[in-house]
């Protein structure tokens, strides 16, 4: 009994909320409101948004999804007028397509104290074919002025039952109330996942649902086939789940974020299984192991790895004289990297088949990397595919094929070490995979379909080493030499930046980076173990300040960090440094004859809490020589937002230290 009362009161309280959330209910007070009560800078706000997803059934299509969404938006400022335009993409594949219908689209304005309604007519509705797969449905709400409230409803019909609506509780403007109701027949089982900083409230209920309609079928009877019509009707249980949230703050955009959508408050659904009356249960991906296995068993994935006849000859030539496993791996990796051309398309599936891709010398990510894996495997190397989600694809909450959009290669050594390879990027190296892949976890799939999670974000610090020697003339001119050594990801970034640039352009960019120094003898070379070393001489007359006969200069010259990169006071999302790194500086300074050091920055050692990183600055003065050894370490690629203040303070001290000057005065 107690339970029933509880449920009843819950329902009552919800329905009392619901009363405020009906289309067509607009008050003068709402129209008069000048700014959002909580977020005064909001240009507009979702007053409420309500979605309901249910299933329909007919004889030809079987079950299909119908989602109805009602939205009511308040426009506070002219900058918010864009919210009066709305568009949604509908997918179509041949004759199977999603369809959108708009209704109840009304704008409310307050004119001379009266509420004026303007309805959207057909001239404000548009439909545009964007490309082969997508049709964009759009509306432009009429007569929208500052202060207006608009509301619209649409019905989204979809035959793709594996894709339930992704309901976003959070938008780029505040959301006062958002509710999503799903009504799912017992034949279909979905899992629910949340992302973002808050989970919606939930109420559930079960009801009976009767599906009925007419059918038409051909019956083979006396006198041949004939058409037979009739009615069908069946009843099942339906699960009602209502998710709702009040006062969701606007999604803020910040720098150094991997993918903002990873943090948006959203609810997602995963189809687990279907079991229709008189049919066997059909299960869809449920665990990561199953997802990996399903993908692996696909002809366009695992099926490709077994093809090895077509490259036999090339491989034999390539591997002539190569006996060790290491040599073979390097040869095959470089061969695929250099010969195959990535066509800019992602996907772990092979698009054209690795055989054709090999012949054409190009393909998508699946084509190129599965070819690489196949070639390595054919030489007995323990190479396997790793399913990856790129940064733009975000972080998946539940196992599904869509969680991944990319594949790379992993080689496991006997002692369990893993080497990652990606042959689609000309600048990629073993364990230096493209930056876009440094996201979340990868899933390594072995021949038997078994799979395991692996870390993609590097643990090792990439190193950048500066050695600089310079001397200062009494007139303030500095002449010096620099050697920059780039390791690991710094090599990758160097190559990306260099691209097709000519040497002339390289020197120009170096001039810019060295505060317009004259650059001479610029050279760079790549060593066998993939370290890039740049060397150059520089000369610059503007780095020393002469004031009242003294010379002032920053010992790091143009290598210093000018500004604290973290300018915001607070932060909501983690900071993504992409990879852990270390910068080291070794500097030797010779001061001019007749001068001595009057003052210099003190040595400093700083370490951030939680082992996030450290900074050291050590200086020694020895006659007319000054020697500096300094290093900056960031130990983790991703720093959680709660450590933001630590980071901001750390960089503040670092920048201050690097901006301190050495003062030289004349010897008396």
């Amino acid at each position: 009994m107690k339970q029933i009362i509880y449920v009843l009161t819950l329902l009552l309280s919800v329905s009392s909320i619901a009363q405020n959330h009906e289309l067509g209910e607009v008050t003068k007070e709402e129209l008069l409101e000048k700014k959002h009560p909580i977020d005064s800078s909001a240009v507009a706000a979702i007053l409420y948004q309500k979605g309901e997803t249910s299933f329909e059934f007919n004889q030809t299509e079987g079950f299909f999804i119908v989602t109805e969404v009602e939205t009511k938006i308040k426009i506070y400022k002219k900058e918010g007028l864009d919210w009066a335009n709305f568009s949604i993409n509908a997918y179509e594949n041949g004759s199977t397509r999603e369809i959108v219908d708009f209704s109840k689209c009304i704008t409310y304005n307050l004119e001379q104290g009266k509420i004026v309604k303007t309805k959207l007519k057909s001239d404000g509705e548009f439909k545009e074919k964007r490309n082969k797969y997508y049709v964009e449905y759009k509306i432009a709400m009429p007569n929208v002025q500052e202060g207006a409230i608009i509301e619209f409803k649409y019905r989204f019909k979809s035959p793709f039952i594996s894709n339930l609506f992704d309901w976003e509780f959070q938008k780029e403007i505040p959301v006062n109330y958002s509710e999503y109701l799903t009504k799912i027949p017992e034949y279909l089982v979905y899992n629910t996942y949340y992302k973002g900083w808050v989970s919606p409230k939930l109420e559930t209920e079960q009801r009976d649902r009767t599906f009925s309609g007419r059918y038409n079928q051909m019956v083979n009877g006396q006198g041949g086939f004939r058409s037979e019509n009739g009615n069908f009707s069946f009843t099942c249980k339906e699960q009602f789940k209502k998710y709702y949230l009040e006062n969701v703050s606007a999604l803020k955009d910040e720098g150094y974020v991997d993918n903002i959508n990873n943090y948006r408050v959203t609810i997602l659904h995963e189809l687990v299984s279907t079991q229709y009356p008189n049919e066997m249960i059909k299960s869809y991906a449920t665990t990561w192991e199953d997802v990996a296995k399903n993908i692996y068993n696909h002809e366009d994935f695992g099926g490709q790895l077994k093809k090895d006849e077509f490259y036999k000859d090339e491989l034999a030539t390539l591997l002539q004289g190569k006996t060790t496993k290491e040599d073979k791996v390097v040869a095959i990796f470089n061969f695929v990297k250099e010969n195959m051309n990535w066509n800019d398309y992602h996907s772990f599936f092979s698009e054209s088949g690795i055989k054709k891709a090999f012949k054409d010398k190009k393909g998508n990510v699946g084509d190129v990397n599965l070819l690489l894996i196949s070639m390595l495997k054919s030489e007995g190397i323990n190479a396997n595919p790793v399913l990856v989600s790129t940064k733009s694809n975000g972080i998946a909450l539940f196992p599904s094929r869509n969680a991944f959009n990319y594949v790379i290669c992993a080689i496991e050594s006997d002692n369990g070490d893993i080497t990652l390879l990606d042959a689609t990027d000309k600048y990629s190296q073993p364990n230096i995979i493209p930056i876009k892949c440094l996201n979340w976890y990868g899933r390594l799939v072995r021949d038997d379909g078994s799979s395991t999670t692996i870390n993609l974000i590097p643990n090792n610090k990439s190193l950048k080493n500066y050695t600089m020697m310079f001397d200062i003339q009494p007139d303030g001119v500095i002449n010096g030499k620099v050697r920059e050594q780039n390791f690991d990801y710094f090599v990758y970034l160097f190559n990306k930046r260099k691209g097709d640039l000519s040497e002339e352009k390289m020197i120009e960019s170096k001039e810019k980076l060295t505060k317009d120094s004259d650059i001479d003898n610029y050279k760079f070379n790549i060593s066998n173990d993939n370290i890039i070393m740049e060397t150059y001489d520089f000369s610059n007359a503007n780095l020393v300040e002469q004031i009242s006969g003294k010379l002032y200069f920053n010992p790091l010259l143009f290598l210093k960090t000018e500004e604290n990169p973290f300018k915001q006071e607070e932060r909501v999302y983690p900071v993504d440094f992409t990879f852990p790194n270390q910068y080291k500086y070794n500097i030797m300074i010779k001061i001019p004859e007749g001068y001595e050091v009057e003052s210099y920055p003190e040595s400093l050692n700083l370490a951030m809490e939680n082992n996030l990183g450290s900074f050291s600055f050590n200086i020694k003065v020895n006659g007319n020589m000054i020697q500096i050894a300094s290093s900056e370490d960031i130990n983790q690629a991703i720093v959680p937002a709660q450590n933001y203040q630590i980071l901001k303070t750390f960089y503040g001290s670092l920048v201050d230290k690097q901006n301190e000057k050495i003062v030289l005065k004349r010897k008396i």
């Binding site: 082969k132 002025q145 503040g652 901006n659």
Partner: protein
């Protein structure tokens, strides 16, 4: 028809020859791509039939060259593509792939700024396997619209070499054709032939242009030819362009005539709103604000709607429209208020482009509204909900525009701010303590096109404003804002920013002295790149004037011993002046004035401009020293 196809098929058979000839080094050096052949033939067969035949061979040297293959074919409902074939050849000239029309990707051509249009684009989707490679493009398309005849633009970008470019325009329609050659003076190598109804332009063996910093806008120096027919067809309507008056009448009768009606109650509203004043400009101001509050900009371009404004009545009802619709709507409202105005066609964008006076034809990319006021004109940008009345923004300033009057059309020049009018006046009180920390209270007043910062600041949240100032004063670390107040006066076109902030460790503190840069708020940092042999002229498109006056109070226990010398630099590019003055024992006054003049300059002048800026950058960094007592 057959004849043409044969004519243009010949080059395809001779592709192999091209590869046997070596491309001269002078064309290939620094080239991202080389145009081996670009042959285009336009045939105007009748007023509503234009045939375009293109044969183009592009050798692509690297990734950047991919952008200049130009294998994208635009179409809409008036266009039919008869033939489209693309061949890819490897570096030896061997054919490796053929792509037909059906293999092309078909996309909507509405960009991010267009809400809806019926323009489509066929795009080549090809991944090169090695460089160089060659793309051979052949297409034939027929366009019913003859209002826009493709212009001839032989040089389309930097770093592109040209072996041969030829453009033939054959006009068998019997209709007179106008043409206008632009920027031809620097390109004597362009050949021109005319026989009967046929004109031929060609440019051969042209070495790639290399971009240099501060170069003028590309189309201010690259050659091109624009064409226009005296009698043309546009989306179901025929038009005349014998002279601007005839053309203007056509625009009036066919595009603007039946779109101006307004609902009665709107008319009454306007009459009511403007009844208090007799001044037409005041009336216009009221009407403009009424329009701004009622509408928003949405670009919908369908069929003739690409050129004809939607009904004023519809704009009134829907509350939105594109530039044409909103300009026409405002014009109708102004008419009710008794203020005459002209629908005006213009090229929009920060890069200035003129409506060519000598080429009577449909030109332009944008519509605004012009109000005559004695000898001058006021211009209204009707797509902005926030622009001040009669604000001449960079989007349409300083260029030729076409105004459509009752009795015809006329070319006029839009307004622009003088260098001195683009003004920013900064005053500040600055206190520095013995730790090197500063406290700053500043007021920055901006006018002219320096006023345009309001676009961003007006609607920005406090967080975004914070961010704006942190980047503006990126040279000051550890900034903390105490208050940010904006006062935007759209009547006077003036924005005043009152900002108070503190910053730690601004000055360098030493045992015996403190050193600081007195130019806290406005430092020039840009020094143009050095060229050993500058080839291109350069332009300063818009000038400005900044004046700063800062009062700097020094901490207790310190003395102002000496101050740097005042400094002044005058040149044809502008004037710069700074001064340091000891007000009393505790305070220094720092003044700075900088006028940068707009102008077009020769390559030889580049070096002195560079030196001018170099001196300013250096002077902006001059430090002062205060001594511990």
């Amino acid at each position: 028809m057959h004849k043409i196809l044969i004519l243009f098929l010949i080059p395809i058979f001779s592709i192999a020859q091209i590869f046997n000839q070596k491309i001269p080094d002078s064309l290939a050096q620094k080239a991202n791509a080389v145009i081996l052949q670009d042959l285009k033939k336009i045939e105007i067969l009748q007023v509503d039939k234009m045939l375009e035949t293109t044969h183009r061979e592009v050798m692509v040297y690297n990734k950047q060259g991919l952008d200049y293959i130009d294998a994208n074919v635009y179409y809409d409902k008036s266009v039919s593509i008869q033939k489209l074939e693309i061949k890819i050849l490897d570096f030896l000239g061997r054919e490796i792939k053929t792509i037909k029309k059906k293999d092309m990707k078909d996309y909507s051509a509405s960009g991010s700024s267009t809400f809806m249009s019926d323009n489509r684009i066929l795009v080549l989707d090809y991944t090169p396997t090695s460089y160089p490679f060659t793309v051979v493009i052949d297409y034939v398309k027929t366009d019913r619209n003859t209002a826009f005849i493709p212009s001839w633009r032989p040089i389309r970008a930097y770093n592109i070499g040209i072996v041969k470019n030829e453009f033939i325009l054959e006009n068998s329609s019997g209709i007179d054709l106008n043409l206008k050659e632009i920027n031809f003076e620097n390109y004597p190598q362009i050949k021109f032939e005319k026989e009967n109804n046929k004109v031929t332009y060609s440019l051969s063996n042209f070495a790639p242009l290399i971009r240099e910093e501060l170069a003028p806008y590309f189309w201010n120096f690259a050659p091109y030819v624009k064409f226009g027919l005296k009698h043309f067809y546009l989306e179901g309507v025929e038009g005349d362009a014998d002279n601007w008056d005839v053309f203007g009448k056509w625009v009036n009768t066919k595009l603007l005539n039946d779109v101006e009606d307004l609902p009665e109650d709107t008319k009454l509203k306007i009459v009511e709103l403007v009844k208090e004043t007799n001044d037409p400009i005041e009336k216009a101001k009221i009407v403009y604000h009424y329009m701004q509050n009622k509408t928003r900009y949405i670009s919908v371009q369908l069929g003739i709607g690409g050129w004809k404004p939607m009904l004023a009545e519809d704009v009134d009802k829907l509350g939105y429209g594109d530039c044409k619709a909103l300009s026409n709507y405002t014009k109708s409202l102004l008419e009710v208020a008794g203020v005459p105005s002209y629908y005006t066609i213009i090229y929009a964008g920060q890069e200035k482009e003129d409506i060519e006076k000598e080429l009577v034809s449909l030109q332009g990319t944008h519509a605004i509204l012009t109000i005559p006021n004695g000898d001058e004109y006021l211009f209204l940008e009707c797509t902005s909900q926030t622009d001040p009345f009669n604000y001449q923004g960079k989007f349409t300033d300083d260029r030729q525009a076409l105004i459509i009057k009752e009795e015809g059309a006329e070319i006029i020049h839009t307004n622009s701010f003088k260098d001195e009018e683009n003004k920013q006046l900064t005053s500040a009180d600055i206190t520095i303590d013995d730790k090197g920390n500063i406290k700053v209270k500043t007021t920055i007043r901006s006018f002219g096109n320096q006023f345009e910062k309001y676009h961003y600041l007006e609607g920005a949240s406090r967080d975004k404003q914070d961010e704006y100032y942190k980047y503006k004063w990126g040279h000051i670390n550890n900034l903390f804002f105490e208050s940010i107040k904006l006062n935007i006066d759209k009547n006077k076109i003036e924005i005043a920013e009152d900002v108070s902030f503190s910053a730690q460790n601004y000055a360098d503190v030493y045992p015996a002295e403190i050193i600081l840069c007195p130019n806290v708020l406005n430092r020039e940092t840009y020094i143009p790149k050095r060229y050993r042999n500058r080839k291109m002229p350069f332009s300063i498109e818009r000038g400005y004037y900044d004046a700063d006056e800062l009062l700097i109070a020094i901490p207790q226990g310190y003395d102002i011993e000496s101050l740097p010398d005042n400094f002044k630099e005058t040149s044809i590019f502008g004037d710069y002046e700074i001064s340091f003055e000891k007000l009393n024992e505790k305070a220094i006054r720092y003044k700075r004035k900088f006028l940068l003049k707009r102008g077009d300059y020769t390559p030889e002048q580049y070096d002195s401009f560079r030196k001018f800026l170099e001196k300013i950058v250096k002077a902006d960094n001059i430090k002062i020293l205060i001594k511990k007592k």
